[in-house]
């Protein structure tokens, strides 16, 4: 059984590597489709950068050779040099900015998962009563209002609040302390939280009427134990399965939140690179994000196996 688990992990990782290769290839050819010479960009005119790049990427060689060079560099974990910032490695950029995005993202995922499970369970237990209606109304709002609007409105709210109180309760923008993280993380996790609440609610409703909960009642198990041992654990399973894709939603949602809240994360850096057409940074970050998301999906799958014995043991 233990060996089966190890084999499963290996298989998933191998699949992950192949997927990352596919992402890298798609990225390479998509970027090579861009009209014009990437080096004829007026921002990349420093001769030093130009010479460095030509040698490094074999830009005078056929496309396929360039592709091989690119894959070789990637395999060594080298994403290249920025086209617009002299002598700046894409790796350094990622190393510097990704931890910020990751912190924000992890916090948002925690908010979303905890909130989604809590609110979802609550609405199911209070089905068709006041708390259910109120929470579900907020959930529909959370799903329907775009994240940048929520971000902007929460900033507006913070400004008003700080003015009303007469001092800065929570910072409106920027990065540094835990207090800087709270509002952006909440905003970032909000739509996922709303989605998870809905999912948790319907899965909990299914569980509430399920045969095994009836069995537990027929055993005289007290309601609190039925909730924690029988209902919650089983209702969480579908929530965990969508956590992988939702991490992707939160990661890309980070772009907007980082922009609005002026957070020096990789997402904001990526958006800036896109606006400046900084090819290596765009490609590097895309492949990096792709690999990260593939890895996260694997992690969540393994986590799911840990929670659900049916998956773990088969």
């Amino acid at each position: 059984m233990r060996q089966g688990m190890a084999w499963y992990v290996c298989k998933r990782l191998l699949q992950g590597v192949v997927t990352v290769w596919f992402i890298a290839t798609a990225t390479f050819f998509a970027m090579h489709n861009v009209p014009g010479d990437p080096l004829l960009n007026d921002r990349a005119m420093t001769p030093a950068i130009r010479a460095n790049l030509e040698a490094r990427y074999g830009l005078d060689q056929p496309l396929f050779n360039q592709y091989l060079i690119y894959l070789g560099n990637l395999a060594q974990g080298d994403f290249g040099i920025s086209f617009t910032q002299e002598n700046r490695q894409v790796n350094d950029i990622i190393r510097e900015h990704f931890p910020v995005s990751a912190t924000l993202g992890i916090l948002a995922v925690l908010f979303a998962a905890a909130g989604g499970v809590l609110w979802g369970a609550l609405t199911a237990l209070y089905r068709n009563r006041m708390p259910d209606y109120v929470i579900m109304f907020l959930v529909i709002l959370g799903i329907s209002v775009p994240s940048f609007v929520v971000a902007a409105l929460s900033q507006l709210g913070l400004v008003t609040l700080n003015t009303l109180v007469g001092r800065s309760l929570l910072p409106v923008a920027g990065w540094g302390s835990v207090f800087h993280m709270l509002t952006p993380a909440l905003v970032l996790g909000l739509s996922t939280m709303a989605y998870l609440t809905r999912l948790m609610r319907s899965s909990m409703l299914e569980i509430i009427d399920s045969d095994f909960v009836r069995t537990a009642k027929s055993k005289g198990v007290p309601p609190a134990l039925i909730f924690s041992r029988h209902q919650l654990r089983n209702a969480i399973l579908p929530v965990v399965t969508v956590l992988g894709p939702q991490i992707a939603v939160i990661t890309t949602g980070g772009f907007v939140v980082e922009l609005v809240f002026a957070i020096p994360g990789l997402g904001r850096f990526f958006v800036e690179a896109v606006q400046q057409l900084d090819y290596t940074v765009i490609m590097g970050t895309t492949v990096f994000y792709g690999a990260f998301l593939v890895f996260m999906v694997i992690v969540v799958d393994l986590l799911y196996g840990f929670i659900d014995p049916r998956v773990r043991l088969q």
Binding site: K217, S218, K219, G220, P309, R310
Partner: protein, 341 residues
Amino acid sequence: MTAAPLLQVEDLHVEFATHGGTVRAVRGVDFSVDSNRTLAIVGESGCGKSVSVQSIMGLIPVPPGRIGPGSALLRGQEILGNNVVNGRDVRGSEIGMIFQDPMTSLNPTMTIGAQIAEPLQVHRGYGAGRAREEAIRLLESCRIPEARKRAGQYPFEFSGGMLQRAMIAMAISCKPALLIADEPTTALDVTIQSQILDLMRDLQRETGMAIILITHDLGVVARMADEVLVMYAGEVVEKGGVDDVFYRSAHPYTLGLKAAMPSNRDDSAQVLTPIDGSPPDLFAPPGGCGYFARCPYAMQACEDNHPESFDLHADHFARCWLHHEDCDVEATDVHRTTASE
């Protein structure tokens, strides 16, 4: 009549409020069961047999369900609506229950052992280790091989028959005085059915518990029951000892059920006769006999007059106008002629 019966149910009513109106699922059901005895409740789907026992066990969600009027006395103590006697939940301790589909009736993310141990921890205050040892012993007593290993497994690793044994082990873990079995063999194949029924009977012999067996399989009834309750459209239409109900059937519906049952005995050439039509709409139960529209013996009186319960022999009742003193049609006679046509 000696002492009060173990469980006495009187005039039980259960309703459900739905978007379409109120479904009157159970309308005045009486029965009782004693230690060492087995009561079978038979009837087709939707006749209210499961709802009756689930209401006694407090398993009907309220709302949309509504229970009452009526009473269910366990050793003379009312359990309808609260299930608590002397500050203790009788469910799982005094009354154990097993369900139709063992595959879905067990928690998929808990080990079998933990689920069997749960009532012991809740009602007896056993510690985890002691409860686990007891669970293994219970599995053994329900004839599950390698009980120790099995106790650590999850429901999906069990077969249907094994799961139903585990369910029984769970239901009898606190040595209940009454075991309610809600179609315990319907989801199983025939050989397993037989083993499960044997197991239940042996356990009854060992512990002296009473059994309420809900089924629509008359073969199971004949094999297991001491008394039989025939339900139709939320009412008891016939009640009596197993021999009375089988050999001296007094209600046309019971006759219909028997005619619809396959048999390999003497008159095996007999054609299976289905009961035509479907039960009445319980949103608005008919004023007269619920079986009127489907009954081959229907009479003028049946359409608008709700039948009384007629006492036929000792402890044998039927709710049918055929047994009125002014009526001279004999149900069984008519049945024989129609069935052999």
